[in-house]
């Protein structure tokens, strides 16, 4: 699926830069990155370690603030929102899948999945989430705590949590990075299936060429800059 110039991009970045102080020197993590991602598009951000992939993801998702440049979601600037406004934006529109799963250890699998929905006070959350958990193959284990689940199971709970509120954007940071090849493939298949069903825009950061090949576009970063953008499924 290609972005069209006519429609408003789901996510747009213009001249994004991120600098961090390291001792007395400033490190340029990202340097003048611009891109636009259309609704429903799947984009992979790829590049070697230290190229700024995760930083770009954090800036697009409103988890961090740029040193310069603009980020827009659905045509609305988000880089000048305060922390609480950003939180509400994420609550309403964004889902996350993290490399290290990031489940709350206090809560059972089902409660973890329910949390964003309850924060958003969406009615009928429970039925939808139980359904999602079953869809991810965790129907039997929904009352287990994260420490009682395997890595693959935890990531599936994280997927269910991410899709629970039906977000319009899904960010995934190395979603298969902590999983073995077979489990990784299963999780990825599930991710694609859910994304297709929900029609969400997916932005994923990955090292894995095979994973990146499944995306509509691949944005290659090197030393904080966009090296090239590849279109079409490889």
């Amino acid at each position: 699926m290609q972005a069209t110039e006519a429609s408003t991009p789901r996510i747009a970045a213009k001249g994004l830069s991120k600098r961090l102080a390291s001792g007395s020197t400033m490190l340029q993590i990202l340097d003048d990155v611009s891109l636009a991602i259309a609704p429903g598009e799947t984009v992979a951000i790829v590049g070697p370690s230290g190229s700024g992939k995760s930083t770009l993801l954090a800036l697009l998702a409103g988890l961090d603030r740029p040193s310069a440049g603009v980020v827009e979601v659905d045509g609305r600037r988000i880089d000048d929102l305060d922390e609480d406004q950003l939180a509400l934006l994420r609550r309403a529109k964004v889902g996350f899948v993290f490399q290290s799963f990031q489940l709350l250890p206090n809560l059972t699998a089902l409660e973890n999945v329910l949390l964003p929905l309850e924060l958003a006070k969406k009615p009928g959350a429970r039925a939808r989430d139980e359904h999602l958990l079953r869809a991810t193959g965790l129907g039997e284990r929904m009352h287990h705590y994260p420490s009682q689940l395997s890595g693959g199971e935890q990531q599936r709970v994280a997927l269910a949590r991410a899709f629970g509120p039906a977000p319009s954007i899904l960010y995934a940071d190395e979603p298969t990075g902590n999983l073995d090849a077979t489990t990784g493939a299963q999780v990825l298949a599930l991710l694609e299936e859910l994304r297709a069903k929900e029609g969400a825009t997916l932005v994923l950061v990955t090292h894995d060429k095979d994973v990146a090949a499944r995306a509509d576009r691949r944005i290659h970063l090197r030393a904080g800059r966009v090296e090239r953008i590849e279109s079409g499924r490889a």
């Binding site: 988890l63 939180a87 994420r90 609550r91 993290f98 250890p105 420490s147």
Partner: protein, 839 residues
């Protein structure tokens, strides 16, 4: 290897400076609680002793109607007494012109009193009175119509009255007072030539040490004197502690309280240390996993962590000891009087050193079980955060608990109170911890069972945090619960103790005693006193007697036998002294029968005997005491044993005989009354006019002194109690704070998932509040139970606990925990959501 371990332990300390500084500060609070209470209570005890010394005038005294053996001098000198002097007392007649009256003549040697002072007006040193000079109580001037500078005749000597005695150290024991005071020098007494045959001179030898010898050493010395001196049965050996029977119970209670607080502070500090180390090891799990992965054996990891904790404990204890040692310096104003300046401000280099030793020991002991968690960290965790923890060897786990129990016993013993108390304390602590543990587990199970699906998300998160398996929630609740127990328990006991001390002296305690009242003057005197506005007028007949036999055995024989029995620590002197009996059908209000009943056998003459006195005599219910009253012997059956509240300052006797036995024996009457303070002198003058033979002894100054001492004790108890409560709250806050500071990751994630800052704050507060409420409910209930047992059992004070406050404890603990949780999470709460990406 040791060098490598040390290096590794040292490197552990370099991790995060801020986190370690917080840990050190919290540990320091724990050790400061132990050492601070130690130095505070030592200072209060020292202050008490100094006050008691002032009441005796010396550290040690021997009183006898016979000559005091030389051996006494040698024994006391061996133990380092630096100064000694003598006083002699006898009842004799003083006259001026045509008027004469019975006075209590006291001859004092140079230096007396060593502690406290005799206030003479105009000022004079009592030891410098010339052969022909005397100082007299105001009553003597009034009753003999004399003035300063005039002459007073006693025996063969004429004395010039040079001063009035305004104040002197002395016992608050008036049933033995013979008349108003006349003070002369020893040479002056000799000049009166009164010490001949048949005179009943009581000689008292007094000793003082340069340094405060401490209560235990003095008691040992007194025991040795009682054991070794010939004629010990006729000697009354007294230490400063024995000087005030009316205050002794209060002082003993305060001493019990000090020991209790010391133990509670130990438990508070220990629980804090355990929880802090637990959190610390938890936070270090990642680093430990890496060490394990790099090839360190579990034993070595344990050694590194223990050494690391020891280093931190050393630093913290040094800090804590400094704070502890500074406390008596910081409070001189509040505790002036309770803390004599010389004692409070003396720097004792051993005190901080021993505090550091105890601090490190307590920290290591309580750190042992939580440090064992380091053993369980699997090397696989370096790769996978969720790796299963390894089991620690069972033997090691048991050994760490056993070591903790033994160490606890030893430290409790060191804190004072003897082995029995140490065992009782350790047992109670283990029992209470087990109850708290069971309670915490029960509540956690309940939290798990509560259907959470309908709870609002914030409350759900709080309940879920309680129910979360395998994360030491029960341990945290127990540590918090013990903290609540100590804080609430201390304040409950402190509140009762200080109000008890403040009210120990009844408002109607007599302010004057009238001695030498003849039986036929009694009614008249009582009427006069009531007419003049006196309150609480009480009278009791006094018969003087000697104890001849107990159960048919002569007292001399019993005394000789007991002297050889080193296992019996009873006063021998009570057997041979002059006994003062009273008679009457009923007991005063401040008496309570603990065994037997009054006047049960119409066929026998019965006596009721005071509990401790019965112990000293070796008499029991059913014993027969044979009394010699001026040559006539009476057999008295002990039919009841009673407790006396001596602190009431009323007229009380060790021996009360039933009516109908002693009425015909020669006796006098002792009358006590509370005189209106403005009219004291007028009333005494009136009595003297009507009954010239009666002497009024004014005890208001002594009463005020006792009141002052008691109110200062109450302040001391309150200050110490508040100190423990404040330190306890700080430790609790520290424990919660350390746990909370590790929440950064969760906070970042919650924010990433769309929680606003306010919601995160509320969530963290609620989670801690719930934990605090559970700990508050368990600890509060335990605190009320413990306070009840301690007050009614150990301190023998009616507990009268404010039960209505019990439901207030959980919300207070919840508020405190929420506040501390938020304070501890302050940095975590500022975590940016981007941290969620960093795993």
């Amino acid at each position: 290897m040791a060098g490598t371990l040390f290096k590794a332990a040292w490197r552990e300390s370099r991790g995060s400076l801020a986190r370690l500084a917080f840990l050190v500060l919290c540990l320091a609070l724990g050790t400061a609680a132990v050492s601070g209470v130690g130095s505070l209570s030592a200072a209060i005890e020292g202050g008490l002793r100094a006050q008691a010394r002032e009441l005796l005038g010396a550290d040690l005294s021997i009183e006898s109607r016979r000559e005091i053996p030389r051996r006494a001098e040698e024994l006391v000198a061996e133990l380092g007494a630096a100064r000694s002097t003598t006083t002699k007392n006898l009842a004799t007649m003083a006259s001026r012109g045509g008027r004469s009256r019975l006075v209590d003549l006291k001859a004092v040697g140079p230096g007396f009193p060593f502690h406290g002072r005799i206030v003479l007006d105009p000022p004079r040193e009592p030891g410098t009175l010339a052969d022909d000079e005397c100082a007299v109580a105001p009553e003597v001037l009034e009753q003999l119509g004399a003035r300063l500078g005039e002459e007073l005749r006693i025996g063969e000597q004429a004395y010039t009255i040079v001063s009035v005695v305004r104040e002197e150290p002395g016992r608050l024991d008036f049933s033995f007072t013979l008349g108003p005071r006349v003070l002369v020098g020893l040479a002056g007494l000799e000049a009166a030539r009164l010490e001949g045959f048949g005179r009943r001179v009581v000689e008292r030898r007094l000793w003082a040490f340069d340094e405060d010898p401490g209560a235990e050493r003095l008691e040992r010395l007194a025991r040795r004197l009682r054991d070794e001196l010939p004629d010990a049965a006729y000697l009354r050996v007294e230490t400063a502690r024995d000087a005030q029977p009316a205050l002794r119970r209060s002082i003993e209670r305060v001493e019990d309280w000090l020991a209790l607080v010391a133990l509670l502070s130990l438990c508070l500090g220990g629980a804090g240390v355990a929880q802090l180390v637990h959190s610390h090891i938890d936070a270090r799990a990642g680093a430990i996993a890496v060490q394990r992965a790099l090839g360190l054996r579990p034993r070595e990891v344990l050694q590194v962590q223990l050494l690391h904790v020891a280093l931190l404990a050393l630093l913290s204890s040094a800090l804590g000891a400094l704070v502890g040692a500074a406390i008596p310096f910081a409070l001189p104003k509040l505790l002036s009087g309770v803390l004599p300046e010389a004692l409070a401000l003396r720097f004792d280099p051993w005190a901080p050193l021993s505090a550091i030793a105890v601090g490190v020991l307590v920290a290591l002991l309580f750190a042992l079980p939580p440090v064992l968690a380091a053993w369980r960290v699997p090397p696989a965790r370096a790769l996978r955060h969720e790796a299963e923890p390894l089991p620690a060897p069972r033997l090691l786990r048991l050994a760490s608990w056993a070591l903790l129990a033994i160490g606890l016993l030893l430290v409790a013993r060191w804190q004072g109170g003897g082995w029995r108390n140490a065992f009782a304390f350790a047992g109670a602590l283990v029992g209470l911890s087990a109850c708290l543990w069971a309670g915490a587990k029960g509540l956690i199970a309940l939290a798990r069972a509560v259907p959470r699906r309908d709870l609002p998300p914030l409350l759900l998160h709080g309940v879920a945090a309680l129910a979360r398996p395998g994360r030491g929630t029960a341990g945290a609740v127990v540590a918090l619960g013990i903290g609540v127990l100590v804080v609430a328990g201390t304040s409950l006991v402190e509140r009762r103790m200080s109000s008890y001390l403040a009210n120990a002296l009844p408002p109607d305690a007599p302010s004057a005693f009238f001695v030498d009242v003849q039986p036929d003057q009694r009614e008249d005197l009582e009427r006069t006193l009531v007419e003049q506005g006196a309150g609480s007028v009480r009278a009791a007949p006094i018969v003087t007697a000697r104890l001849a036999k107990i159960d048919g055995r002569p007292v001399a024989e019993i005394a000789a036998e007991r002297k050889g029995d080193s296992g019996v620590d009873r006063e021998l002197w009570v057997l041979t002294r002059e006994q003062r009996l009273t008679f009457g059908a009923t007991l005063p209000n401040d008496n309570e029968i603990v065994e037997g009943a009054l006047w049960t056998d119409p066929a026998r003459a019965e006596v009721s005997i005071e509990e401790r006195y019965a112990e000293d005599l070796g008499a029991r219910l059913g014993s027969v005491l044979t009394m010699d009253v001026q040559g006539l012997q009476f057999d008295l059956l002990v039919s009841s044993i009673r407790k006396v509240r001596w602190e009431s300052f009323g007229i009380n006797f060790f021996l009360q005989v039933e009516p109908g036995v002693l009425e015909s024996a020669p006796h006098q009457v002792l009358v006590a009354a509370r005189l209106p303070s403005q009219r004291e002198e007028a009333i005494e003058a009136e009595v003297a006019l009507e009954h010239p033979n009666i002497t009024a002894i004014r005890v208001r100054p002594l009463l005020e002194k006792a009141l002052d001492l008691l109110s200062r004790l109450a302040v001391g108890v309150r200050v110490l109690g508040l100190f423990v409560v404040l330190v306890g709250i700080a430790i609790l806050a520290g424990v919660v704070g350390t746990q909370a500071s590790r929440r950064a990751k969760e906070v970042g994630l919650l924010k990433a998932l769309g929680c606003t800052r306010g919601e995160v704050v509320l969530l963290v507060a609620l989670e801690h509040a719930l934990q605090g409420a559970v700990a508050g409910a368990l600890g509060g209930a335990a605190a009320f139970g413990v306070a009840q047992v301690v007050l009614e059992g150990a301190l023998a004070i009616p507990a009268e606990l404010p039960w209505a406050w019990l439901p207030v404890v959980p919300p207070c603990a919840a508020l405190l925990a929420a506040g501390a949780g938020l304070a501890g999470s302050w940095r975590a709460l500022r975590t940016a959501p981007v941290e969620a990406l960093r795993g």
